[in-house]
């Protein structure tokens, strides 16, 4: 075979959906004992995001921390007008510990935006989101989008204790009705949360349900959603290597038209139909 010459016209070029980009840290402050907020100065091209999408972060390497793979993080906020990209993260292991040591002015290589975000169908005028812990990060942009689209939003925010409740102001600012439930106050148990949602539904205040992360929330919203025929979406997590769909490591099982399928969280997700998602 003869040498195939490179031909700029033939062949698709990068379709420009996701970018590997260098950003600069604007701030990286503790929000409370467990969570930190990272604000990046980011190029415009990576700020065309959808709520529920994520970035894959190349955490810094130091003498103390040597993460190798990237770490997936939901977009907590994207602000093209300010050129800002926000993340809210919990410090757990090597990668997030390394992230926590970033200082203002440091650079951070990010890859994104990645994945498929939440949908808000035209006829979903009343939406309800249920968030706990760092799940708030994932759901915050959805609140922004709801306001932009003029939808009515109820946000149920759950936490261990009132001290670690985050982002309530953010949701309030977005015009949401915020309901807080906590473990210490004994209001965050599934029954109570379910009954709050049932009441809302009975009042005709819920066209769609949204959540992310945990198995317990998934079960809860699957049950309530099925009971009342209310659609919903959930953002899922899974270990990731590539983040763009190549390695097939991030699959989860889904119930789809009577069969069990494997879908990639990074590519077909991270947001999935709540009834198709399977507990783990």
């Amino acid at each position: 075979m003869e040498l195939k010459q490179r031909n700029a016209e033939a062949g698709t070029s990068a379709n420009g959906r996701a970018f590997e980009a260098e950003t600069r840290v604007k701030s990286n402050r503790e929000v409370n004992g467990e969570y930190r907020q990272l604000i990046l100065d980011a190029p415009q091209k990576i700020l065309d995001c959808q709520p529920g999408q994520f970035f894959h972060l190349l955490c810094p390497v130091t003498s103390k921390h040597q993460p190798y793979l990237r770490r997936p993080m939901s977009i907590y906020g994207y602000f093209p007008e300010k050129g800002e990209l926000h993340f809210l993260y919990k410090v757990t292991g090597e990668g997030t510990q390394a992230l926590a040591e970033l200082n203002e002015g440091d650079t951070l290589n990010v890859l994104g935006p990645l994945g498929v975000g939440y949908t808000i169908r035209d006829d979903w005028n009343n939406i309800l989101l249920l968030a706990r812990g760092v799940g708030l990060a994932t759901l915050a942009p959805l609140a922004h989008e709801a306001r932009r689209l003029g939808r009515k939003l109820t946000a149920i925010c759950s936490a261990r204790n009132p001290d670690v409740l985050m982002s309530i102001d953010l949701f309030t600012e977005m015009g949401a009705e915020v309901i807080t439930v906590t473990d210490t106050e004994g209001t965050s148990d599934l029954e109570n949360v379910a009954s709050i949602i049932r009441t809302k539904i009975a009042n005709g205040e819920v066209d769609a349900l949204y959540t992310c992360g945990s198995n317990r929330m998934l079960k809860l919203l699957q049950d309530v959603g099925a009971e009342y025929g209310i659609p919903g979406e959930i953002a899922l997590e899974q270990q990731m290597a590539c983040g763009v769909g190549m390695c097939q490591c991030c699959v989860r099982s889904f119930r789809r038209s009577g069969k069990i399928t494997h879908e990639r969280v990074c590519r077909e997700g991270p947001v999935f139909d709540i009834q198709e998602a399977m507990g783990w």
Binding site: M1, A8, G11, L69, R70, E94, C242, V244, Q248
Partner: protein, 314 residues
């Protein structure tokens, strides 16, 4: 202008940089221009549909990673109908990686995948041969010879044999593949490894063990590429831990005719594009006009064969 073209048998590549099987897919077009690559190499495909291994399928180890993806496969029909047409849009050779757990299945997929649009078949013989004791074909010269001979008979396409590092017989396996008609060797696949979560005491991979890839693998795969290039006359394609242009050059000097880049693309999806331009710049800086001038130029004369042989194990 620097000439980056390299030849693997009759096939000329515009540059020696291509992805490694299983670390590349159509999806990468979201981030880079796939038309700049030396070749496109697809994830190993099997005839039948397969689910792949339990999760977690990857974990991190110091400076590298383990994976036990398995070979989830939508089957050969889906591949022929969907994947091959995607790559036809590019003027880049398409290398299709195949596998099977016994020789007959291997021969069938090899024959069936020999369709227009496919330029080379990469034979992933680093997978278990269940007809014998379950050790990978590429762990032994005899099973390597047997499977490659069979495949040679059923396809006219160039066959690249992909070797495994999980063997003490690298050169013997390389020679067996050449004798059986392989057109090139890809050296190498991942190395069997393990990691355990000390808190849960569970293996970090759902499948208990998995393959090591990334920088930790480089000195091992480089040694194998060198050994193979010395042992055979067919081209050797280096693979294992490549992430910088220095790595590429090291493999070329060791005797590789081209290289495959795997895990580095997960860390920086633009790696291959960067490597191509950095290779050009490196050659310019060294006043080398043709990349082929590097291949196999390792200055190993000083080390007498006998010394190597006697003392290699410290």
């Amino acid at each position: 202008m620097v000439n980056l073209t390299t030849k693997i048998g009759a096939l000329t590549l515009r540059n020696p940089i291509m992805p490694a099987s299983g670390t590349f897919s159509e999806d990468l077009a979201d981030v880079i221009d796939l038309s700049v690559l030396g070749a496109h190499v697809t994830k190993t495909v099997t005839r039948e549909k397969r689910g792949g291994n339990p999760t977690p399928r990857v974990c991190e180890v110091r400076g590298s990673m383990l994976n036990s993806i398995g070979i989830p496969s939508k089957g050969i029909d889906h591949f022929i109908q969907n994947v091959i047409p995607f790559y036809k849009a590019y003027d880049v050779p398409l290398i299709v990686s195949i596998s099977a757990h016994n020789i007959d299945d291997f021969a069938r997929i090899c024959e069936e995948i020999s369709v227009p649009g496919v330029d080379v078949i990469e034979v992933n013989i680093s997978c278990p041969n269940i007809e014998e004791d379950g050790k990978a074909f590429a762990m032994r010269p005899s099973s390597t010879h047997k499977v490659m001979t069979k495949l040679r008979a059923v396809s006219d396409l160039p066959l690249w044999a992909k070797l495994t590092p999980n063997t003490g017989e690298t050169t013997e396996v390389a020679q067996a593949a050449q004798d059986a008609g392989a057109d090139a060797l890809v050296v190498s696949n991942t190395l069997l490894s393990m990691a355990i979560d000390i808190h849960s005491r569970k293996p970090k991979l759902g499948n208990l063990m998995g393959g090591l890839s990334g920088p930790s693998l480089k000195p091992i795969a480089l040694r194998m590429a060198y050994q193979c290039a010395k042992a055979v006359d067919i081209p050797v394609i280096g693979c294992g831990g490549i992430s910088t242009v220095e790595d590429v050059v090291e493999y070329l000097i060791a005797g590789a005719t081209a290289v495959q880049v795997g895990t580095a693309t997960f860390i920086n999806p633009t790696t291959m594009v960067t490597l191509i331009s950095n290779l050009e710049r490196f050659l310019e800086s060294q006043n080398i006009s043709n990349v082929r001038e590097l291949i196999g130029t390792v200055r190993d004369n000083d080390a007498a064969d006998s010394v190597v042989f006697m003392e290699a194990a410290p």
